[in-house]
């Protein structure tokens, strides 16, 4: 086998997994952009998605990708409820309060999953899990292709929601100036609840598409929270296109590093790229730079 095919295989693998990272990062970026909340429970929402897919598959035989139809609306509702019950009370409090609240939420979710499912790694084995499509010598796993396709569809749907609907206009207005949005009649409390719900649904969607690719453990969330931060900061905090670019970059850097350097430092490559980009462009790859006076 020549060297180009493994390279292209790695590149496609990195882009496909990077797309899922983007989905996670977009949710975190949306929540931060609109609510100014750093959500430490975001990775745990990914874990909830993985276990939701697992339960629906094992108990009801629902294909994990079809589980999105159930999980996406459920994620929006549960996320909105969490925002109303926990975060809405802390809207005007110092930033640390919401940060600690989401950190507490993360611990509650991880330990609840531990109690419900135990610590053993669990995975879903789909009948078509090892089916691949060969394109110019590159083997593309069907599961990864479906994951990539769904990720793209969800991100396009989110773009449409934010840019082509009245609801999206209200979200963007709240993100730009909450007080101003309230003055023109936007119910920012509802917008916050909706945004947190959408953020949770996006993270759950990422968890669902990851479930057939990886195995789930209750503490998997912390690793995805870290990745989500890297993705959003790489792309520029609060920027959705930035989160998409950051996700793809992280996926490719991790995949290439693990393949061509040493696999034991896979997570470290993403963090290394993160530090380099912060040193060169503190506002992130796609963030707007503040004028220095």
């Amino acid at each position: 086998m020549d060297g180009l095919t493994p390279f292209l295989q790695n590149l496609s693998g990195g882009l496909l997994i990077g797309g899922i990272y983007a989905l996670i990062g977009v949710g975190l970026s949306l929540i931060f952009g609109v609510m100014r909340v750093i959500n430490f429970a975001h990775g745990d929402f990914v874990a909830i998605g993985m276990y939701t897919a697992m339960v629906l598959f094992r108990q009801l035989g629902v294909d994990p990708y079809l589980a999105l139809v159930i999980a996406l609306p459920a994620g929006v509702i549960v996320g909105a409820l969490v925002q109303r019950v926990v975060l809405a009370r802390l809207v005007d409090s110092p930033g640390d309060s919401t940060l600690l609240a989401t950190l507490g939420l993360s611990l509650v979710i991880a330990n609840t999953l531990f109690l419900l499912f135990g610590a053993e790694p669990q995975s879903i084995f789909l009948p078509y899990a090892t089916t691949t499509v060969t394109l110019a010598g590159i083997r593309l796993p069907v599961t990864q292709l479906i994951a990539g396709g769904l990720t793209l569809a969800i991100i396009v749907g989110l773009w449409f929601l934010l840019n082509r609907t009245e609801m999206g206009r209200a979200v963007r207005a709240t993100a730009q100036n909450r007080l101003g949005a309230e003055l023109v009649g936007v119910n920012t409390r509802s917008v916050h609840a909706l945004v947190f719900g959408v953020g949770m649904a996006l993270a759950m969607a990422a968890g669902i598409v990851l479930a057939p690719l990886l195995f789930a453990i209750p503490t998997v969330g912390s690793s995805y929270t870290l990745k989500a931060f890297v993705v959003t900061v790489l792309g520029g905090l609060g920027s959705i296109p930035g989160a998409i670019g950051g996700g793809l970059l992280l996926g490719v850097v991790e995949f290439m590093g693990a393949s061509y350097l040493s696999s034991g430092y896979r997570d470290a490559y993403g963090l290394f790229a993160f530090v380099i980009i912060l040193l060169l462009r503190p506002e992130g790859l796609f963030g707007r730079s503040a004028k220095r006076v």
């Binding site: 086998m1 020549d2 060297g3 095919t5 493994p6 295989q9 790695n10 693998g13 990195g14 997994i17 135990g118 610590a119 053993e120 790694p121 669990q122 995975s123 084995f125 899990a129 090892t130 691949t132 083997r139 796993p141 599961t143 690719l213 990886l214 195995f215 453990i217 998997v220 690793s223 991790e254 995949f255 290439m256 590093g257 693990a258 393949s259 061509y260 040493s262 696999s263 034991g264 896979r266 997570d267």
Partner: protein, 399 residues
């Protein structure tokens, strides 16, 4: 009157003492993973212990006193295992056995050495447990070197059948835990001793499950043998992803652990076909009662047992034999009885502890090799002999 009261007191004391003695049991401590990521292996241990207890108690226990196992869950974590070891020592249990993972057993073994109390290992395989080991640590099961050695015997056998050089290059992927690293070290050593070339060796973090980048890298190296050392979930993920990326090799070899579990075939399905795995015991081993024990363990578990169940069985029967021969419950007497162990006809093979090749208090038992054929483990190599034919591994495109 005082004399009458004294006599009655003595009689009552004697009676209660004899009742207590009659109800008493000989306790053996076992530390294993009942919960956590190694729980599947702990389940196998529990089945083996149950079968062994039935047998030893039916045969009269320890000198007529029933045997009881005090089982402690290490939750698949080293710290919990150390706490469990302390609890068992504080209860005065004369002999403790354990545990599953070498990463857990290593610190426990050091603890028992510091406490100068005997500890009997029946599953953990890291060479370092008994090489150099200590005077207080004894191990029944095969060390990690044996896991790699039996698979190299298979490679040599394939080369003998198909022509020298059929298999010459190896890539290794392994978890970064103590056991997996020890087997990978043994692969490096055996390869250099027997004239194979290790093209690449990659480890991965135990929480990782995306092996695709490593497998793509291996694809570019075009190896004859892919040698894998992983626990339960990792082995399933590896087999699936090897098929996904289309990594071809003449031999896929799994260094026991996850690859020898029935869950490996159940979890990864057809992707496991033709995979060789080292194992420490099967129903085909030439030891008395192996088939019967396998049937009993299958009945207890409701599915095919892995070798870990037989190891737990061997651990308990060895502990009972030691306690029967020990002059007292003191650590020194138990240690002396362990050293004098000579059980030539156990279902797990001849058990006696020896010092050899740098090992101390290690039972020198060979490993066994299996191959997945038509969705089942088939024993192909036992004690230096080919038992069943070994099937060639076709490329993924030809399957």
């Amino acid at each position: 009157m005082k004399r009458v009261i004294a006599v009655i007191s003595v009689l009552v004391s004697a009676l209660s003492a004899s009742v207590a003695l009659a109800q008493d049991t000989v306790k053996i401590g076992v530390i294993t993973s009942i919960t956590g990521r190694f729980a599947e292996f702990g389940e196998m241990h529990q089945a083996g212990i149950q079968a062994a207890l039935e047998d030893v108690n039916a045969a009269g226990g320890v000198n007529g006193v029933p045997v009881e196992v005090v089982m402690e869950d290490d939750t698949s974590e080293g710290n919990a295992a150390l706490a469990a070891a302390e609890r068992l020592v504080n209860q005065g249990i004369p002999l403790v056995l354990g545990a599953y993972s070498s990463s857990i057993t290593n610190p426990i073994a050091q603890y028992f050495t510091r406490q100068e109390r005997p500890f009997l290992v029946f599953t953990s395989s890291d060479d370092a447990i008994t090489r150099p080991g200590s005077a207080w640590i004894y191990r029944i099961n095969q060390p990690s070197y044996a896991y790699a050695e039996v698979l190299f015997n298979v490679f040599d056998e394939i080369n003998a059948q198909k022509g020298a050089g059929t298999l010459s290059t190896i890539v290794t992927i392994h978890g970064n835990g103590a056991f997996e690293s020890a087997v990978a070290d043994a692969v490096d050593l055996l390869a250099s001793e027997r004239g194979y070339v290790v093209l690449d060796r990659q480890d991965y973090d135990q929480s990782g499950a995306d092996f695709r980048p490593i497998l793509n890298r291996f694809s570019g190296l075009d190896p004859d043998v892919v040698f894998m050392v992983s626990y339960a979930a990792d082995s399933v993920a590896l087999a699936r992803q090897i098929q996904e990326v289309g990594l071809d090799a003449k031999v896929f070899a799994g260094g026991a652990a996850g690859f020898a579990l029935p869950g490996f075939i159940e979890g990864a399905g057809p992707a496991t076909e033709y995979v060789y795995t080292a194992t420490m015991w099967t129903a085909d081993v030439p030891y008395p009662g192996a088939v019967e024990l396998n049937d009993r363990l299958t009945a207890i578990l409701g599915r095919t047992p892995s070798y870990h169940a037989a190891q737990a069985y061997a651990g308990i029967i060895t502990a009972v034999d030691v306690l029967e021969r020990a002059a007292s419950d003191s650590p020194a007497d138990i240690q002396a009885a362990l050293a004098a162990t000579d059980m030539p006809d156990t279902v797990y093979g001849p058990i006696a502890f020896a010092d050899y090749q740098g090992y101390q208090n290690q039972a020198p038992l060979p490993a066994v090799a299996q191959q997945v054929q038509n969705g089942e483990f088939v024993t192909v190599y036992v004690n230096g002999q080919t038992l069943n034919s070994m099937l060639d591994t076709p490329s993924w495109d030809d399957r």
